[in-house]
């Protein structure tokens, strides 16, 4: 019975959290958004005291049910373990706790957190690890299926479905997610909850509390016949029947043992005789390994930056010359935009500052999944790997959208309303003269000024010798060509200008981020 309740709740949580990552329309978040916000580590970062207290109390009363029900990565492991058990019954055995590894990982995790190595924190954090798997591997499939429905709806003249872009947001993050999925799947298939009881920092933290939980599975030694059925079905490998002991630091209260015992010798109760839980010690080794990781992450990728700058210069030579119109019909080829090298990366309004964002973001990809404009994607930079950043080649940060701030469970993107968003300066636009259409093609343009939501761009006459640079058609001498002038005080860095700039592959106007956001 207890087991069935656990499985039912776990599946509900698992499906709903997964849907959060799949639903690109953002409608589910109004109903299910809280499921991301009660995840332990994001709640810690968001300083969500209510949730933390509730989860601590939950663990102190019931043990690590969090790991069995709420944590999507845990439930995913149970799914793989269940499949593994189908292949081979009674496949687990008791093993000793690998305490040194657990504490080392937790220590490293905390050091990385303090040192601001967001990528390492994001790598280990269980909810985010699952989020990456869902958004990188499940979401594309969901998107394709949706697009199929959209195609059918279009045929039927229905507006029930609309198609969505499915694109690879970041190759490194995709690879990390895929490797993680395979690794965890194999571990879970063979040994159940190995990950949770050796690597996962949240699991290790909760295990401190779980030792003292009020309710726990207790073996009645009078009834026990030492058949080892429970031990061999314990995915946490924490039941030692030889000594009739359960390591409660590793037990995830899955209730499997209770259901499996032929003699009903195990029950989920408060142990009356207070069988002292086996405390395992040794925290000293935690510190040494941590520094190495931090050092590695320190190196900044200067070569790549240099290459991008060079290619930016080279690409300016390529111009889309307006072709002479001889016949009618047809569509001009549109070149893809290339991401410019931004001196300072862009993070969404609500992120407060780059430092704040790096400290709080767990890289769960929830904001990346809901961004309807193709703006957010995981960064590839080593220090911020998997934490999102913005770029405007596919769309821009539209004034009516505050989705990322609504969904962020970790407080990395603080909730803001539309008015606040439209007055938050996350960066400013820079003009690149040699790409600008009036300079390059001799055509009137002003598309940036026309679409600037804050009116920060005005058009001023183009004067001086630059007037006659390439691409000019005959008969333009009379045209009063205008170029954009950005008022950086009013610019909020939304990227409308960059995205809608007709110059390709590099826009003639692009946004550079600010370290600290401000209100204009």
């Amino acid at each position: 019975m207890l087991r069935k309740i656990r499985i039912t709740l776990a599946l509900i949580f698992f499906v709903c959290v997964t849907l959060l990552f799949l639903d690109f329309t953002g409608t589910l978040h109004a109903w299910l958004g809280w499921m991301a916000k009660i995840q332990f580590f994001p709640a810690v970062l968001a300083l969500n005291a209510g949730v933390i207290v509730a989860l601590v109390l939950l663990t102190l009363i019931f043990g690590r049910v969090y790991c069995s029900v709420i944590c999507p990565l845990g439930v995913m492991q149970d799914v793989f373990a269940w499949l593994g058990k189908k292949q081979k019954k009674n496949r687990y055995t008791y093993s000793k706790a690998k305490s040194w590894l657990r504490y080392a990982m937790l220590g490293l995790f905390i050091i990385a957190l303090i040192a601001g190595v967001g990528s390492f924190v994001a790598l280990l954090e269980p909810y985010s690890a699952y989020g990456r798997i869902a958004s990188n591997i499940l979401a594309p499939v969901y998107g394709w299926i949706n697009n199929l429905f959209a195609l059918i709806a279009e045929r039927a003249d229905s507006y029930a479905f609309y198609s969505t872009d499915v694109w690879l947001k970041s190759l490194p993050t995709f690879i990390i997610a895929a490797v993680m999925l395979v690794l965890i799947a194999v571990l879970a298939w063979r040994n159940g909850r190995t990950w949770c009881n050796t690597i996962c920092p949240v699991g290790t933290f909760l295990s401190f509390l779980a030792r003292f939980s009020w309710l726990k599975p207790v073996i009645d030694t009078d009834k026990c016949i030492s058949c080892r059925k429970c031990e061999r079905n314990c995915k946490a490998s924490c039941i030692d029947i030889a000594n009739h002991k359960i390591d409660y630091s590793r037990c995830v209260t899955c209730m499997d043992c209770i259901g499996n015992c032929p003699k009903d010798a195990i029950s989920y109760i408060h142990p009356k005789k207070a069988a002292a839980p086996a405390v395992t010690g040794g925290q000293a080794e935690a510190a040494s390994g941590a520094d190495r990781k931090a050092d590695k992450a320190e190196s900044v990728d200067t070569a790549r930056r240099g290459f991008l700058t060079a290619s930016l210069m080279a690409a300016t030579a390529v111009t889309v010359k307006a072709q002479e119109k001889k016949v009618d019909g047809g569509l001009a080829v549109i070149e893809d935009k290339v991401i410019p090298d931004r001196l300072v990366p862009l993070v969404p309004p609500g992120a407060v500052s780059l430092r704040h964002f790096a400290q709080y973001c767990t890289g769960c990809q929830l904001c990346v999944s809901v961004c309807p404009n193709g703006v957010l994607r995981p960064a590839t930079d080593l220090m911020r790997m998997m934490q999102p950043e913005m770029s405007y080649e596919r769309g821009y940060c539209r004034p009516e959208c505050t989705k990322c701030s609504e969904v962020c469970p970790a407080g990395a993107i603080r909730p803001i309303d539309k008015a606040e968003k439209s007055s938050t300066q996350i960066g400013h636009a820079e003009w690149v003269m040699h790409n600008c259409i009036p300079v390059r093609d001799g055509q009137e343009c002003g598309n940036c000024a026309r679409h600037c939501p804050t009116g920060a761009i005005q058009m001023v006459p183009l004067k001086g010798h630059h007037r006659h640079r390439g691409g000019r058609e005959e008969g333009n001498d009379g045209k009063n060509l205008m170029i954009p002038a950005v008022n950086t005080e009013k610019c909020i860095g939304c990227g409308a200008c960059e995205n809608l700039c007709p110059a390709r592959p590099f826009s003639a106007i692009y946004v550079v981020g600010h370290e600290v956001h401000r209100t204009v």
Partner: protein, 465 residues
């Protein structure tokens, strides 16, 4: 038992397949509509085409002329859409069917279908005896590089080569009045002596009839007609339909009412060839209440047939061109013109009243002719304008967020917009360079319309209407 099940399943699949094909066909009809309508049940008459006589050459010209501007592409759409190849097999079939049913006038141009129409038309027609068909093509020297005498003459010779003929029945100065009007017309035909060359060619018999097609600046039209005694125009091609008859100028102040154009030709006894009898399909895709009125009067006839009867009923009309992309268009038009049932005075008045009602809808007068394309910055101009018109006709242009159907209309507009125009080709990318506008035969101020639509879409997206 098992066998029976099997059969019923097969039958079911067959029925489902047929239903699927039908709905696909209908869906395809919905967008690329240019002429005619698939009013299935009626048979296509095998004879009885109405013919008109050309007063100068005595040609018997079928009242239905085949416009070769919208040949089907392999994807089933008009070859003007997208970048697909012309479906030559289908073109052959359409041409065979047309000739078999009495159509003998084929109108093309070196510019049509991204420059491939003449060749496709030539391939299809060369399979028939030369005396079975009349060919019309044009001097489409729009690009300034072809304004030289050599460039223009080369274009003329190339047309004969592409069409696989040694004489042309009808030859037109293409798009008189477009662009900058008089200035451009002079540069294209008069300053370079091309008009004299063409008149020589007419004398030599390689051009049997010389005329011009007119769009836009009425000064050019008047100037050419004033010199009729010099140039002896054998025919003139004008845009005429029941909407343009009295409202062309109201739709766009730079255009001229068809009534004026037709009467000016009739006065001089110059036969008129009619283009855009359906306004690029707009007169077959009319608002629902207008459809109801047509069907109330004649439930058997298509909406398009009214427009064709209007154009064909004028006695000074030599032929009415229709760009029939699909077999259904051709069949429906054959039903209308085999033979023509001329409009009564009462019906003529009814169509004028219909036009008045239609004017109350503020649609953009785009005919999807794609003269504006390709836009050098990649926009799909006609698709943007047509989506706007479609939503206007279907009542999906909410004026404020308090409209009762606001949410539904907003969704229909925005989702439909992304479907019919890829994001990168939408109005938000119009830089306003204005290179398109001079090419528009309807003289739409394209950048202004695109910016207006973009501003509207922006308010819809932001939900601030």
């Amino acid at each position: 038992m098992e066998k029976k099940n099997d059969i019923s399943r097969r039958e079911f699949l067959k029925t489902a397949g047929a239903a699927g094909a039908l709905s696909l066909g209908l869906a395809a009809c919905g967008d690329g509509r240019t002429a005619g309508s698939a009013s299935g049940s009626q048979a296509v008459p095998s004879g009885g085409m109405t013919y008109r006589t050309n007063p100068t050459t005595g040609d018997k010209v079928s009242l239905l002329g085949y416009g070769c501007m919208r040949w089907p592409s392999v994807g089933g759409r008009s070859a003007r859409e997208g970048n697909e190849e012309i479906d030559q097999e289908m073109v052959n079939r359409l041409v065979d069917f047309a000739i078999e049913h009495g159509v003998n006038y084929f109108d093309t141009s070196p510019a049509y279908c991204r420059g491939t129409s003449e060749r496709a038309t030539g391939i299809a027609l060369s399979r028939h005896p030369r005396e079975k068909y009349l060919i019309a093509t044009k001097m489409s020297n729009f690009a300034p590089s072809t304004w030289t005498r050599e460039g223009a003459v080369a274009m003329y010779h190339n047309s004969m080569k592409e069409l696989q003929v040694d004489y042309l029945d009808y030859y037109l100065l293409h798009g008189i009045g477009m662009g900058s009007g008089m200035e451009e017309m002079m540069a294209r035909y008069f300053d370079n002596g091309i008009i004299d060359f063409l008149m020589e060619e007419r004398k030599a018999g390689r051009i049997r009839n010389l005329g011009f097609s007119y769009h836009g600046d009425v000064k050019c039209f008047d100037w050419l007609l004033e010199r009729h005694d010099v140039y002896k125009w054998d025919f003139v091609q004008i845009q005429l339909n029941y909407l343009d008859w009295k409202y062309a100028k109201q739709i766009n102040p730079r255009n001229t009412d068809a009534e004026y154009l037709y009467n000016a030709l009739a006065e001089r006894g110059i036969p008129a060839i009619i283009m855009e009898p359906l306004l690029g399909g707009r007169l077959s895709n009319v608002p629902d209440n207008i459809v109801a009125q047509f069907k109330e009067r004649d439930p058997q006839s298509s909406v398009a047939s009214w427009a064709f009867r209007f154009a064909g009923s004028l006695s000074g009309v030599l032929t009415v061109l229709s760009g029939m992309t699909r077999m259904e268009h051709l069949q429906d038009n054959l039903r209308t013109y085999c033979p023509l049932n001329p409009l009564t005075d009462e019906e003529f008045q009814f169509l004028q009243d219909t036009a008045t009602r239609m004017m109350q809808f503020d649609t953009i007068p785009c005919n999807d002719c794609k003269y504006c394309m390709p836009c050098p910055y990649g926009l799909d101009i006609p698709a943007i304008l047509l989506h706007y018109n479609k939503c206007l006709n279907e009542g999906n242009i909410p004026e404020s967020s308090t409209d009762p159907e606001y949410r539904k209309a907003r969704r229909a507009y925005l989702v439909g917009y992304d479907r019919s125009v890829p994001r990168l080709r939408q109005a938000s990318h119009c830089i306003g360079c204005g290179q398109c506008s001079p090419h528009c035969p309807q003289r739409i101020d394209i950048p202004a319309e695109l910016h207006r639509i973009d501003a509207y879409v922006e308010r819809l997206r932001q939900n601030t209407l």
